[in-house]
């Protein structure tokens, strides 16, 4: 977060400057009310609101790169903050009505800020839709950030199980089959042993990208565990699933992977097991795909096998 907040340092400088300036200006023209004149409920409401708005700005900018959307949202929240803050100063100081700037600062920034915030959110929505379409092969219609594997950035087996449940329910209604493919890199241990964990992780990330490129929209790629990937192919029959699986294996086979440090070419192969279901539980389907994978491995590397 600290890294992202640095991108917006100029904006934070504006806020930091505004706070003392507004205080100095108010003290120059206003008279203190004294402790008895202060309505603490108002202070709590307006001041607390102002601080919360500042907190929102911190959270949003901390999670976003610089750009138009960030600027709009920040400007909107900043103006709302100015309004609330100025309102709050009135609780402590008696500012005469002839000081028009105070009235303006209290009333004008709020509607402008609201409009800018709305514009920012609309553009954010557009941006998010583009991102979602890029992520669709990884997360489909649901987001659960806890179940994302930190290395491959793919959803976990638990997420796969949930999605299979949904897809199998639909399959029973529509009588359309669901296929599940388990893909395992052959002899992945050797990579870790020879080149270290960092290289192993890097290879898993590369293979993830490669597999994503070779999938259709609507397919779901998950990280099953270790060096095993799972692909859910919705509304896909046996023949199509076998074709896609062979293509995935061929893609891995032809992948010219090079190590990060020396650029050494490492040839990798993968094996796969396919299982098809019309009506089964997710666990049953995963177990069958895993058994098919085990028997593919027994037949030798670089092949695929369909579950009976």
């Amino acid at each position: 977060m600290a890294q992202t907040l640095k991108l917006h340092s100029l904006k934070w400088l504006c806020v930091a400057l505004y706070l003392p300036l507004s205080l100095i200006a108010a003290f120059m023209v206003g008279d203190p009310k004294g402790w008895d004149g202060i309505d603490w409920l108002d202070v709590f409401g307006e001041g607390g609101g102002a601080l919360l708005v500042l907190g929102w700005a911190l959270l949003i900018l901390g999670s976003r790169p610089a750009g138009t959307v960030s600027n709009l949202i920040f400007a909107g929240l900043g103006l709302i903050f100015v309004s609330l803050w100025q309102d709050n100063l009135d609780e402590f100081l008696l500012i005469p009505d002839v000081q028009l700037w105070d009235t303006w600062l209290e009333n004008l920034p709020m509607p402008i800020g609201m409009v800018m915030l709305t514009l920012g959110l609309v553009r954010w929505y557009g941006e998010q839709r583009i991102l979602m379409s890029q992520l669709s092969k990884r997360e489909r219609f649901m987001r659960e950030h806890r179940s994302v594997d930190p290395v491959t950035r793919l959803a976990s087996a638990a997420y796969l199980s949930q999605q299979l449940e949904i897809e199998l329910k639909r399959a029973r209604q529509d009588c359309s089959p669901v296929s599940l493919v388990m893909i395992d890199l052959d002899d992945f241990d050797r990579i870790n042993r020879r080149f270290g964990f960092e290289e192993g992780d890097r290879m898993l990330q590369s293979v993830t990208e490669l597999l994503l490129l070779n999938l259709r929209d609507g397919d779901l790629l998950c990280h099953y565990g270790g060096d095993r990937f799972a692909v859910m192919l919705a509304q896909t029959g046996e023949t199509m699933a076998a074709i896609i699986t062979r293509e995935l294996i061929a893609a891995v086979h032809h992948f010219a992977y090079r190590t990060g440090r020396e650029g050494e070419r490492i040839s990798i192969t993968a094996s796969a097991g396919v299982a098809l279901a019309l009506s089964a539980s997710p666990q049953d389907l995963m177990a069958r795909a895993n058994r098919a994978l085990a028997s593919a491995k027994e037949q030798g590397a670089d092949g695929c096998e369909s579950a009976a």
Binding site: P150, A157, G226
Partner: protein, 352 residues
């Protein structure tokens, strides 16, 4: 329950490794674990917190660390969000590793039985917190892991060590073994990672940490092993061993004492007396190893009962006779406390 028999003086351990004895080269397994945790985004200060270790010392390859520091390092890694997977991944790389003369001993062992023999003889360096021990019957080999002072790190270390033996077998034989894995710890959050790293037959909350493998996997010859390199490594290590004999930890020494007397186990007071210390100082020393007397006592008796049933093929009555003086109900109760299931269930569900 137990009638305290006098302990034979020859049985009593008279020396053991202190928790603070710096004996394990930091650039062996600890360095591999540190490399993995850092690659998986763990910050150095969290990783090395309270271990008294510095990265530069480890990379220089000269630092020796104590059991206490090693255990602390592992418990730090256990705070990582994907600790289960890290343990398996670390384990798969542990053997034969890069451990001076120990590595050729494992790399050129003619079969798994010889490799395990090497692992046992050099357990103080290869697996200081969890000691291996094995039996076999006519069909199966049983590889058990016993507490060498792993304490809270046990779930991590037992995962890693079982993955290590599995990884060594795969690496040397080129074959995917079909073994049974029994873990004492409760059900994991990522059963899939265990399936990928250990195979389909992995069980949890069983009360023991054990691998059950077909006997032929222990004895089948491994290709490309050099008998010369193996024998040279053995001689080198034997020479080194003669000068500095590393010693078992107190929990491991006590476990062996207790299992030898499993049919009439000494209680805390008798044991403390035999070790020439007060019961409270025995308790304190065990607490220092992150364990306690009762847990060693239970572990030894459970292992002994499994030995009687699996290896000697005794039936429940005969085992109850030996362990609880014929009180079957009492034995069943104890067994349930150790494993969470009755002896019959255990036999049916977990044994091949």
């Amino acid at each position: 329950m137990a009638v305290n028999r006098r302990l034979d003086p020859g049985d009593i351990p008279d020396h053991w490794r202190s928790q603070d004895e710096r004996h394990l080269p930091a650039h062996y397994q600890p360095a591999l674990l540190i490399e993995l945790a850092r690659a998986r985004g763990m910050a150095d200060h969290r990783l090395l917190r309270h271990t008294g270790l510095f990265l530069d010392d480890i990379l220089a390859g000269e630092a020796l660390i104590s059991d206490r520091q090693y255990r602390r390092l592992i418990t730090n890694v256990q705070h990582h969000g994907a600790a289960e997977e890290l343990a398996l991944l670390w384990g798969r790389q542990l053997l034969p590793g890069h451990y001076g003369a120990l590595t050729p001993l494992l790399q050129h062992a003619p079969n798994l039985a010889q490799a395990l023999q090497g692992l046992y003889e050099h357990r103080h360096h290869l697996c200081p917190l969890l000691a291996p021990q094995w039996w076999h019957d006519r069909q199966w080999g049983y590889l058990l892991w016993i507490n060498g002072g792993a304490g809270r790190a046990r779930s991590f270390v037992s995962r890693a060590m079982m993955a290590a033996v599995y990884g060594l077998f795969r690496h040397r034989s080129g074959r995917v073994p079909d073994w049974y894995f029994l873990f004492s710890q409760s059900h994991p959050t990522t059963p899939e990672a265990h399936e990928v790293n250990l195979g389909q037959r992995v069980h949890f909350t069983t009360g023991v940490d054990m691998i059950i493998m077909p006997l032929q996997d222990l004895n089948v010859g491994w290709a490309d092993s050099s008998p010369t390199a193996f024998s040279v490594a053995r001689h080198q290590l034997a020479g080194k061993e003669a000068t500095v004999a590393p010693r078992s930890t107190l929990p491991e020494a006590l476990y062996h004492l207790l299992i030898r007397h499993a049919e009439a186990p000494p209680d805390l007071n008798t044991t403390a007396h035999a070790l020439a210390m007060s019961p409270s100082s025995l308790k304190r020393r065990l607490r220092d190893c992150d364990t306690h007397f009762q847990s060693l006592h239970d572990e030894a008796r459970l292992h002994y009962s499994l030995y009687l049933s699996q290896v000697l093929g005794l039936d429940m009555d005969a085992i109850a006779e030996r362990l609880s003086h014929g009180d079957r109900a009492n034995f069943r109760r104890s067994f349930r406390r150790w494993t969470g299931m009755t002896p019959a269930h255990f036999q049916m569900w977990l044994m091949p």
